[in-house]
């Protein structure tokens, strides 16, 4: 239970930290850490405008997406504790549940009949499709390393083998999860949430027509998604057997570090050219394969 509470807690602060980092990096003071939460409050107080073209799908898409993200958060363990619901192969369910939410967001965008949103929808579908193998290869690698097939068991047995190559492995895993998180959450270098031209957007252009309550749901979903990936990274880095209070402290600081890394990346690098993105994302799958080969060596299968 601790896991889900922490994830919810962190998701409130996460976007604030990113914003603040970016402000400081660009020499501004920046808004308070809770500003994104206030923004959601504003959205919730507002009314909504619906396009005449849209129908049922547009109305339910944000709710389905948020529900899918929330339920996938239930599958994330915290340190030594099980997640709320944990079973063999829960990461398959995790990935497919998030895909369900994405499916609805994509068709929700197409429901508006706008060519801009069609463009965003198409990019989202393409990029997330290319990303899928990277996550599965990574989880397969974890499963092979530990011999278990649920998030909780995998992370519990992650650091037990006591192999000195673990560091290489940990770094690869960390890098991959970080990149997957960035792409899943539509951040730089694949997508720039702050761009002002619809033609270069991915996620933002998909939700052009959403307003009020629906838009708030979408934002909340994004925030939780950040925290979910942050805690996956945390679980991958910190050995599960450590003291619980130390764990909580580390959890918070790793999430903060994750947010700061995102903020810094967004301050100091430019977005990829759109047609370079597929290559960039596919590379991740091959890095994951590299991690797989490392584990083949670790488990004495190769050499």
């Amino acid at each position: 239970m601790t896991g889900i509470i922490l994830i919810m807690l962190v998701s409130f602060l996460f976007p604030g930290v990113i914003l603040r980092t970016k402000s400081i990096a660009s020499g501004r003071k920046g808004p308070g850490l809770l500003q994104p939460v206030y923004d959601i409050g504003v959205l919730l107080r507002k009314g909504s405008v619906f396009s005449n073209t849209t129908g049922l799908i547009f109305q339910i898409a944000p709710a389905v997406a948020l529900a899918s993200i929330f339920c996938s958060a239930l599958l994330i363990p915290f340190a030594d504790q099980n997640s709320v619901i944990s079973f063999d192969g829960d990461f398959v369910f995790f990935a497919y549940l998030l895909a369900l939410g994405r499916f609805f967001m994509i068709i929700g965008a197409l429901d508006t009949g706008s060519s801009f949103e069609g463009m965003g929808a198409n990019r989202e579908a393409l990029f997330s499709m290319l990303l899928e193998p990277a996550f599965f290869i990574l989880m397969g690698t974890f499963a092979m390393l530990t011999g278990y097939t649920s998030f909780a068991e995998i992370f519990r047995h992650f650091y037990i083998s006591g192999n000195q190559y673990m560091l290489i492995y940990g770094i690869l895993g960390f890098y991959l999860l970080l990149q997957i998180a960035l792409i899943e959450n539509s951040r730089l270098p694949v997508d720039d949430p702050k761009t002002h031209l619809e033609l270069t957007m991915i996620h933002e252009v998909m939700i052009l027509d959403h307003s009020g309550f629906d838009k708030a749901l979408i934002h909340i979903g994004t925030y939780i998604k950040f925290a979910i990936y942050g805690s996956l990274i945390f679980n991958g880095i910190v050995p599960a057997k450590w003291n619980i209070f130390l764990q909580i402290g580390l959890f918070l600081s790793i999430q903060a570090m994750f947010a700061i890394i995102i903020g810094l990346t967004e301050s100091f690098r430019a977005r990829n050219k759109m047609n370079k993105n597929p290559k960039f994302i596919l590379t991740l799958s091959f890095i994951a394969l590299l991690a797989f080969v490392v584990v083949l060596i670790l488990t004495d299968k190769l050499i």
Binding site: T53, D90, E132, A143
Partner: protein
């Protein structure tokens, strides 16, 4: 007793020709319902019985006593799969065929209903008979009856051509199976499935298996033997495409599993071959599906993908047997088998609702649709349900079978050796990519066809189809939800089939694990549904107290949008097309604007993607053969003297060869 009933029902099918027109449909429906009840009763008996087998013997004196029906759990499973889809398909047919009723003759419908009945009966026989000869006869009847079903609109030239090409390819497959059976017959003296065991124990397995595999794979539609599928499915009426794609191609899967049961050696190689072919089928199937504009053709290519997923399950299962990995065997085969059931449900649902769209809008071209959700809400929702299920998304049935296949592979990763782990990780990556591609494909199909604004006159004039076309689709829809939400009820019997068929004693493997995970999947799916519903209810009341207004879609400053500016299916697939170009060979058909053409005239643009396999495996060789035959046609002079000369030369050659003791 029940055997005689079955035979009477079969014989009654001939009465279709003599029933008055108004009763013809109901009579056929009655026959189908009777057969469904009878055979479902048989298969439920088999499932509840202890020995898991039931022998239905023909009355003595009938066909020399050689005609035996043996129903084991595998057959029983396939019988249930066949029954559900065939029955709903026929219920759906009534509304779908209604427009053809006027102005066409009686015989056409008699033939159609008769063929439908016999497709049904022959599929049942295929899974029930064990004698090679009867099996081949049933297989042949299946090909013929489905041929007659495909050419329902035989007056259209294209459809006739497609039908004949279908018939030829089916016989090609039949030919391979025939040769395989003859080989068995020569080695063992008997021609039935049980003698396969004797053959396999003393002869190399891989060769004979490949013969069977090719024969069955043509029916099932594995790449590169799939070329009939994307042609025949769009040509057939929708209820027929639903049945063909939903269950008839699964007969190929049944054949493959049936042969695998008897394999003795070379299992590892065979497993790897199946896995490689299946992986190629699933990936390329969905990749080619994405670029299709014809809704039914898109679905046909998706059948290839799903056959590939089923094949992945079966292939990993065979590898499991070979490496004595019970987990992989049980998960692989159970996933594959369950996907057979699942695919028959959502694919028939998709074909039926695509048929309704065709009925309402008179087009199958996605680019001409759009905005159908508002015009045909029920059909759209059913199509959406089918799309979600076929993408393997929870909480629907497609996820459960894909989950089982994934689990078999993930669980075996740590225990397998180098080559197996590499293969497993490639398959895992491939399967996940397939999932992503399927989502890409169905967001496109659903989004472009049903959402947004109508793109053509045809779409804007569409209206919801009649109830008798919608209601039958509820049957597969209920099963889709049921299997998705209460998967334990369905997975347990299926694993039972696998453990029994492949002689794995009891549920030796992880007895609690599987049902436990499935129960938890059901729980979290329940939480998910509950969460969505609560959110929507809250949203309803929330919006009630706020000002809600309507306006045009945000055009980014542009104020005169038109439906033509919407994203089309071509533009949706544009990025992807760019990536997949080497494989798909998409062609643009257009005329460039000349340099000194000051006032360009009207132009058309068309993009087309060839099926690479069709081009190189069928079209080109056929081209070469017809070139060659043209040259040989030189001999056809029409002069009687020449023909006498040919006969003389032939005799001379025969004489010489006999003299030299060559023949």
């Amino acid at each position: 007793m029940s055997t005689i009933l079955f035979l009477i029902l079969i014989l009654l099918s001939f009465a279709v020709f003599f029933i008055p027109r108004s009763l013809k449909y109901y009579f056929t429906l009655f026959l189908i319902a009777c057969i469904v009840v009878l055979t479902t009763f048989w298969s439920l008996n088999v499932f509840s019985g202890r020995d898991g087998q039931m022998i239905v013997e023909a009355p003595t004196g009938f066909s020399g006593g050689g005609f035996l029906l043996i129903i084991d759990r595998l057959s029983a499973f396939f019988i249930i799969v066949i029954n559900i889809t065939v029955f709903t398909g026929f219920l759906y047919a009534r509304g779908y065929l209604a427009p053809y009723q006027e102005g066409s003759n009686n015989l056409r419908f008699s033939i159609h209903y008769f063929s439908y009945l016999w497709l049904f009966i022959s599929m049942l026989l295929v899974v029930m008979v064990r004698n090679g000869l009867f099996f081949l006869i049933a297989w042949e009847i299946m090909a013929l009856s489905s041929f007659f079903l495909v050419i329902f609109e035989a007056e259209k030239r294209m459809i006739m051509k497609t039908g004949i090409s279908y018939l030829i390819q089916m016989h090609l497959g039949m030919f391979f199976i025939l040769i395989a059976f003859i080989l068995v017959e020569r080695a063992t003296g008997r021609m039935n499935f049980d003698s396969l065991g004797i053959y396999f124990s003393s002869n190399p397995n891989i060769l004979l298996f490949m013969l069977f595999f090719i024969g069955f794979a043509i029916k099932a539609g594995f790449i590169p033997l799939h070329t009939w599928l994307p042609e025949a499915h769009p040509a057939a009426p929708s209820h027929v495409s639903g049945v063909m794609s939903g269950v008839m191609i699964k007969m190929g899967i049944y054949g493959i599993i049936r042969v695998i049961i008897y394999l003795q050696h070379d299992l590892l190689q065979i497993g790897v071959i199946i896995v490689v072919i299946s992986l190629i089928s699933s990936l390329l199937g969905v990749m080619m599906a994405i670029v299709q504009h014809d809704l039914k053709r898109l679905l046909a290519y998706h059948s290839i993908e799903n056959i590939g997923i089923i094949g992945l399950g079966i292939g990993t299962g065979v590898i499991g047997i070979a490496t004595n990995n019970k987990l992989l065997t049980v998960f692989g085969f159970s996933g594959g088998l369950l996907h057979v059931l699942n695919h028959s449900l959502f694919k028939s649902l998709l074909f039926f609702s695509a048929g309704s769209v065709y009925r309402a809008s008179h087009t199958r071209n996605i680019e001409e649709m759009g905005g159908l959700m508002k015009k045909m809400p029920y059909t759209s929702l059913l199509f959406l349900l089918g799309s979600l299920a076929i993408c393997g998304l929870p909480p629907f049935n497609g996820f459960i079978s894909e989950y089982l296949i994934y689990m078999g592979m993930f669980d075996s990763l740590s225990a397998s050796n180098l080559y197996q782990s590499i293969m497993l990780i490639i398959v895992i990556a491939g399967l996940s990519l397939t999932g992503g591609l399927a989502i890409f494909c169905f967001t496109k199909a659903f989004g472009i066809a049903f959402l947004g604004e109508a793109r053509s006159e045809k779409a804007s004039n569409a209206s919801e189809v009649i109830k008798s076309m919608i209601l039958p689709q509820i049957i597969p829809a209920i099963f889709i939800l049921l299997i998705g939400l209460a998967s334990v009820w369905f997975v347990k019997p299926v694993t039972g089939i696998v453990t029994e068929t492949f002689g794995i004693p009891g549920m030796m493997i992880a007895p609690e694990q599987v049902p436990d995970s499935l129960v938890k999947i059901s729980i979290i799916s329940g939480i998910f549904m509950l969460f969505v519903i609560t959110l929507l209810i809250y949203r309803y009341y929330h919006l009630k107290s706020r000002t809600v207004s309507a306006g045009p879609t945000w055009g980014c400053g542009y104020t005169a949008p038109s439906p033509k500016q919407q994203y089309t299916s071509t533009s949706f697939a544009y990025n992807y097309n760019h990536l997949a170009k080497p494989l798909l060979q998409t062609k643009k058909i257009m005329k460039d604007i000349e340099q000194n053409e000051i006032f360009p005239a009207g132009r058309t643009f068309e993009s087309q993607s060839d099926d690479v396999f069709r081009k190189y495996i069928i079209d080109k060789p056929v081209g070469w053969i017809s070139e060659l035959l043209k040259k040989i046609a030189m001999m056809q002079t029409g002069l009687i003297q020449h023909y006498i000369l040919y006969a003389f030369i032939f005799m001379l050659v025969v004489f010489l060869l006999t003299y030299l003791k060559i023949i």
